[in-house]
């Protein structure tokens, strides 16, 4: 049954075309603006206590910087309120183990690696408002399932 005109190569060529379309659309989406963390800065565990303070900074014009500490087992601050945000710079730090930071129902989903500050820039769509649940989505020990916080967006 070998070699009936090499139909397998026609098939492979069609698959390559489909995959190339997928890759092109991913590249296009990246050009539109990819608001997920590829930014990181080193923050040694010993220095973090003095240099990284959790809290919200209003940068004006609808921009906020939110600094969050992820720890065993919770987030500090545990609740953040933002007034009509246009752009949120989320900086999340862990000084114990790996945690996750996922805003449920959005594509904000980042690993928080101990010793590093993860930075995500998120421009929440206008239809997002009210209380958003943020969960730790990386296993971090026996209290893992109780680790969550809230972000409240007021429009």
């Amino acid at each position: 049954m070998e070699n009936k005109g090499g139909r397998e190569f026609i098939w492979i060529a069609s698959v390559v075309v489909v995959l190339a379309i997928f890759l092109g659309s991913i590249a296009y989406a990246l050009r539109l603006g990819y608001s997920v963390a590829s930014e990181v800065s080193v923050m040694p565990l010993e220095k973090a206590a003095g240099l990284f303070q959790p809290g919200v900074k209003d940068l004006g014009d609808g921009r906020y910087q939110v600094d969050i500490i992820a720890f065993l087992w919770g987030f500090r601050p545990a609740r953040v309120e933002l007034n009509n945000p246009r752009e949120i710079i989320l900086r999340i730090y862990s000084n114990d183990v790996i945690h996750g930071f996922q805003i449920v129902g959005t594509n904000v989903n980042v690993m928080v690696i101990p010793g590093y500050i993860a930075t995500v820039i998120w421009r929440p769509p206008q239809n997002i408002n009210g209380t958003l649940l943020v969960i730790c989505n990386e296993y971090c020990g026996i209290g893992h399932s109780g680790m969550y916080m809230e972000i409240v967006i007021k429009r």
Binding site: M1, N107, I113, P114, N137, Y139, S145
Partner: protein, 550 residues
Amino acid sequence: MISERAFIRVSIIFSYIVLALGGLFGFLQLVSRTPRAPKLVDESQYYAILTGHGVLLAILWTAFFILGLAVFVVSSELGKPFRRSLLAVSVILAILGTAIASYPIIWGLLIGEPTMGAVLYTFYPPLTAHPAFYIGLALVLIGSWVFAASVFDVFIRWRKENRGIAIPLGTFGVLATLIIWLEATPGLAIEVLYDLIPMSLFGKRVDVLLDRTLFWYFGHPLVYFWLVPAITAWYALIPRILNTELYSTRAAKLALVIFILTSTPVGLHHQFADPGLNVAWKYLHTVLTFAVSLGSFLTAFNVIMTLAHAGILRGGSGLFGWISRLPWKDPVFSSITLAFILLGLGGVGGIVNASLNLNNVVHNTTWVVGHFHTTVGGAVTLTFIGISYLLAPVLLGRSIASQPMARIQPYLWFIGLVVFSIAYHIAGIYSAPRRTYDYSYGGLSPSMWEPLLQIGMIGGLIFWISGVLFISNILLTPFIGRPAPKLDGASILGANGSNEKATLLDRISLWVIIAVILIIIAYTLPIAELLGRGLSPAICITPAGIKPFT
């Protein structure tokens, strides 16, 4: 010193013990995490059991079955004896390593200290387990290298006497599997030997981002270490069962070559959500992951064409008429073919996982759990179940205890898996997290999670029951199975010393060189980025939140 036959028996029967225990753990954690279902275990036990489920099934059940299967295939096809000392050393190291690595999990559960071994099967530092966990894994790893040496030893001796002859397809698959393993395991070896064992023994501080990168350098090719044997089995067995030929042997070998080339330089697609790795490298790994999917697409085509031809030869007509003519009542055929369909489901989801912006929606959600249950739990495990029905006479000298039970079992597995994984995929799109004991989150969790997780549990229970049917069927076979005529491997695989000429595809060393070049390209850049920024070592902590060395 053990014979090939004894090796095959020991490793495959041991794999069934591992499967049974891993399955029990699966049942306990599945029910415990489902909203409104009874909590069979408490939170700290849950994570130890989840660790056991992952380590036993994803790493050990697959590995032990593959070791036995590889010796069966290579000794039947090449007709050359293995060095018995190498076989003995490898199986002893692997079983000893398994026992040592399981000790903190199982003993920890028994004495009420479940956090001894609760680091899950990805064991990301700085969470730390009892040192035995890492030492046992290292022994399994060394055993697997000795095993690879034993297969290459046989192959090289065969090659010397058969220059210019094409490598038989089954052996080609085994070689591809072991090459992938040897490409991948250095990453794990460096992580475990250099960082994790010293961390758990002496409290060495480790850089977590670097260790995650090393882990996933190994972690994704591991998937192909499971999958390539299953795919090879489809190529080798489906034509035998249907009494026909494979549509294209050339395309089959090409698919295996694609796996050799691109199964390793793709690990960053597990780290799309990791900060600190440039998006350019992530995109490169997306491209390479799409390239590795070509091997699966090619397999899909080849297998479907083979099935269609067989169906048409049996009188099927029209576009789909061939389907009903296939031997769906034969448990070997149905297991393998249903496994093949599950790989289709897993493959489509895999394309989503590999697309770096879509991955952001599903990373670390139940979507991922749904995905790998269709692949390792579906495509791989159901294929191995089918092979078990075929090999029972060889392994146990008897045909399977209950043929009717064997006939139903693959369908139950398939239905259960489809229900489980579709529900978990959808829950994942709604951000339901994986690896968590409790989904309530102070009453804030989306209302869609609960019903989807409950449907998932029903699916999970269906394929768990199917697993119980399989294990009990195997268990009963030595006692009530009818004595079967002694089959030898060559007659099952149809290996009768074909004299086909070798082609470019048979030049394995060439493919290995290209694979190594691809790996160097794909990993030099991210590793240089990590080291160039400067590391930031963390302090180890137990899952109970205790720092054991400060």
